[in-house]
Symmetry: C2
Subunit: 606 residues, 2 copies
């Protein structure tokens, strides 16, 4: 049922036309001030004003209209959630403008278009301003977000305390990381670096938080210069332990103090050639505070450094994936037993039981994203989240897809398995096996240094393509080290941006091809991989060759494999993988006879 | 042995410093005024001034230095051919500047750098001028090429007559093609199109020539407008038959008359919004003549249209590749017999005999490029051309690589086979088989519409990569229809430009992975393929799926295959391919018992 938004829109429009704002339209993006993919409740402005809960969307409220822009994944959901105050703009369909085109073409010329400058990147704001010029409209950065003013029951900002991330897991002290950043600053002949992405700050200072569900980050900014390291974070979040950890080398200031500091830095820099380095995710608010001429936008050094895991982080990834695999083996064995016994379980029951098995593992902190526990047709909804009451009972006669992950103190996991607990059809087996062949082709790939995930992406699809099948998402993303489950800068996929970053030893990346039939079933096989030096007999061109190590150790549903499709090498891959799982995970589940039996059966050589 | 270039360079430098030129450096590209890959003798200025005969290279002569820039394919050859007046600049190695960087960094600031404006594209000239500005140097278009003035025995321009290419082979009349171009001009709201690439002109007017060895083109320009089609070509080349073929719809003018015409068109266009469309291969001289503001550079419509072969052209490709395969089977059977009988044959003897076998085939016109007939280490010189006296005797104990092709009235061929007529080593077999696996992976690939050759390129390398091996050239290029053996716009390779053109049904493309060990051997397996609709059981996303048809039908050396490396699917591919060859080519060689026996043996199932 749609949330009624009439009163909310009236209040917002009254404020927009008031002397304080005098704006003809207001932009309400989905992101927070740190361009986070997942956001805290207090930042869910677009959700509150529109009622639409999907992760991707853009709202524009003008004096006459309210428009919500979203993509094909969310057309159905948005049309159900929006009330009739809203126009749904289906992005990607012919003759539907983008939100930027809408501002130029659908609003009157000479409009004043307000935006919260913390919620739009400087780069996007400049592009938008240029296109608005063509109709004499203006982008107006507002000083206080009018949605926040009319959102009477807006949740407060999260106040949980920050915890330290010890060097035994991070592998490098924050002092050493800060020194690395300073070497980078020197190499660029710059004054300093502004850090606004929450996972970059958590990584840099070896701190973790819980301000955003499933993402162990905390609201903060940072500025690093050759002489200073300032962490902007509310004092209430900082314990004595954290103070002690940070030591003398880090100055603590309140979260919003960054804007005054940037102004002061900017005034100092205007007379010099030195710049503050930002990156493409930096907000307009930061640029405005420092002064545009004092800013130099660069590819993020910290994201690049964070992307290459050190030995301690790699050990943590291996270790936590073992425990995570044990939880999954307990769960799938339990689930199969329940279903075969005729117990009625819905998708949320499954997800909850899996969470309990994970919580029993050492160093467990929480989920790394909402568990996708889906039966039959729900598996074809790629970002499905089951809700109690609205979800389905798990049907033993249909494919079950489970995409889940955990946050552990030593690492982050992300794994998808697709099982059929009864008898799959030949067609389901063929589709599953094509996905598996793509999964194996990526896992087993060897490639020279310099190769990007853009170029490896077809390996994940080649077997599906032979049947005229494909999937409409990327093949893989970086995984944080007890940090965000999605991280860059690299990835495997069709987005040309993935051609900018070669895969490098120490990176983590998922390998998750899939196949989906709307209204029928979804298949995805996802492991987390580590990029590492490959042992090749030769080294042509002295470039060095890379390959992958899979840290996910959960059996691949044997009864879904069409053996006739697999080559001997592919069968060997499956058998080697299952032997490794039995050897490594068997000892971890030996207290659970059902799990032991299930694991043995599911790792039988084919 | 290097050609002595001291006197040539002295004469050129004297002219450069004379009052007529007053330039500090002169650029000598490899290309002709049409940016042709292969050029007539009179255009081989870079060869004449430097002595280096490779197809790719760039010479820069300044008052003090003479530098020759070339890529990895030619490092060895260039170092052998250049005398000590020249510095070899190995492009792609660390710390070696590109020729553009060299002009900025290695020459004095404020240099006047001369270039023949017909020999540099307008686009390259603009980029170069911009970077020269940073050091206050200037690009100076010269009116008469100073190399031509000092080249006393320069060959005259080719004067051979043009022939017509009948519709039974071209599949479409030149009148219909001109109408298509006019529809394109209308769609762009332009005045007309300037055509300067020789193969575009030959294709558009259904004419062929012999001005460039192996390339059936003739020196010409063309301008197409809504009302006119002007072909600029020397009258001596045009027979009555060609005049009759062209009819009233085409106006003939002398070759160089285009520059005056462009000036007149330019003056007329300056007052209007209409432009003349050029493309990225158009010379600076054309842009200067028409006036930069009257020109609009676009991706070449004619190259795109030419790249998609029609049914008549595809039939011609299939037909001529059958005859071509028969010639190759005769040749390889003959060669093996000679070598086994201990007859001493050098690489040129081999190439000459192959040419004779080709010449016996119907509709044969000539070679499509110089035959690479190479034994042992010469096979590692990727663009090797054996020369009588300087080449090697074919060694039965070493790998023999033969890359060759023919021009036939119904099509153009390009094929490489690698054989060992005695007993290859295990290592040679392993390398050959890795190349074969890459060849098969491309040949057997199925992919959705929209996929580019950039994305398929890793398929050709994946098996080599597993051993830490690779090759330093592209995987494939388009092949003309009784036209240039290399043509665009598409290709399979690591150059990002190949990501601009999706493969499309009707395109031709070669599949030619290789592996080369300097000083030891070279391996390449090359077929010509046609892109066509694939028969897939499904059509996910309604995009349509494409695959390849191989038109080359020559056995792949069985004794070089390491059977243990091949998957059952790969073995089946080899057996299916060989069965097809035996069936289609067997009847064509039945007058030659040696060829029949060789063909039967070489197509034995594995």
């Amino acid at each position: 049922m749609p949330v009624p938004t009439g009163d909310r829109l009236s209040a917002l429009r009254a404020l927009m036309s008031s002397d304080e704002y005098k704006i003809d339209a207001f932009l309400i993006p989905s992101e927070d001030a740190h361009q986070s993919e997942y956001i805290a409740d207090c930042d869910k402005r677009r959700y509150w004003i529109s009622g639409f809960t999907g992760s991707a969307g853009y709202a524009i409220v003008s004096s006459k209209e309210a428009a919500l822009f979203t993509d094909g994944r969310y057309f159905l959901q948005a049309s159900e959630q929006l009330d009739n105050n809203w126009t749904l703009m289906k992005q990607g369909l012919p003759n539907v403008p983008t939100w930027q085109e809408y501002l130029v073409k659908n609003l009157p010329n000479e409009s004043r278009i307000g935006v919260d400058p913390t919620l739009i990147t400087a780069a996007d704001a400049h592009l938008l301003s240029e296109s608005l010029k063509t109709v004499n409209s203006t982008l107006v950065p507002v000083h206080a977000n009018p949605v926040d003013k009319v959102w009477s029951d807006r949740p407060g900002a999260p106040q949980d305390v920050v915890i330290t991330h010890p060097v035994k897991f991070s592998g490098k002290s924050h002092v050493d990381k800060l020194n690395d950043v300073r070497k980078y600053i020197q190499s660029k002949d710059a004054y300093g670096v502004v850090v606004s992405a929450l996972d970059e700050i958590a990584w840099l200072f070896n701190l973790r938080g819980s301000d955003v569900e499933c993402n162990p980050v905390f609201y903060s900014y940072a500025i690093i210069t050759e002489s200073e390291a300032i962490l902007y974070v509310e004092a209430a979040k900082i314990t004595d332990g954290v103070r002690q950890h940070l030591g003398d080398s880090v100055t603590l200031k309140p979260y919003n103090a960054i804007f005054d500091d940037l102004k002061q830095f900017g005034e100092k820099l205007t007379a010099t050639e030195k710049k503050l380095i930002t990156n493409p995710r930096t907000s307009l608010a930061i640029e405005v505070a420092a002064g545009q001429t004092n800013i130099k936008e660069e590819r993020s050094y910290i994201t690049d450094a964070k992307g290459i895991k050190n030995e301690a982080e790699l050990k943590g990834m291996r270790d936590c994936h073992m425990r995570d695999a044990a939880a999954l083996v307990h769960y799938f064995a339990w689930l199969e037993k329940q279903l075969k016994a005729g117990v009625a379980l819905d998708e949320v029951d499954g997800a909850d039981r899996l969470e309990k098995f994970r919580a029993e593992q050492g160093d467990y902190v929480g989920l790394s994203f909402d568990t996708i526990s889906s039966t039959g047709a729900n598996g074809a909804i790629i970002h499905y989240k089951p809700e109690k009451g609205a979800c389905k009972t798990i049907d033993i006669k249909q494919i079950y897809l489970c995409d889940s992950g955990g946050q552990y103190k030593d690492g982050t996991t992300d794994v998808t398995r697709t099982y059929h607990f009864d008898q799959p059809t030949d067609y389901e087996k063929r589709c599953f096996t094509r996905v598996l062949q793509g999964h194996i082709a990526v896992d087993a790939a060897v490639f020279p240094q310099g190769t990007t995930g853009y170029l490896l992406d077809p390996f994940a699809r080649h077997a599906l393509w032979k049947d005229g099948l494909d999937f409409r998402h990327g093949t893989g993303h970086g995984v944080g080290s007890f940090l965000n489950v999605h991280e860059g800068p690299h990835g495997i996929g069709v987005r040309i941006a993935y051609n900018d970053t070669p895969l490098a030893a120490g990176m983590t990346v998922t390998d998750e091809p899939g196949y989906y039939e709307d209204g029928k079933f979804g298949i995805r096989i996802e492991n987390t991989l580590i990029v590492r030096q490959a042992q090749t007999p030769h080294n042509f061109g002295d470039r060095g060759y890379l390959g992958f190590e899979h840290v996910t150790l959960v059996p691949i549903g044997l009864n879904l494999i069409d053996l006739d499709l697999l080559s001997p090498d592919e069968k060997k891959w499956v058998n080697d993988y299952h032997a490794e799982i039995l050897q490594k995970i068997g000892p971890l589940v030996e207290n659970d006879p059902d799990a032991v039996a299930w694991l043995k059966r599911e790792t039988t050589p084919i």
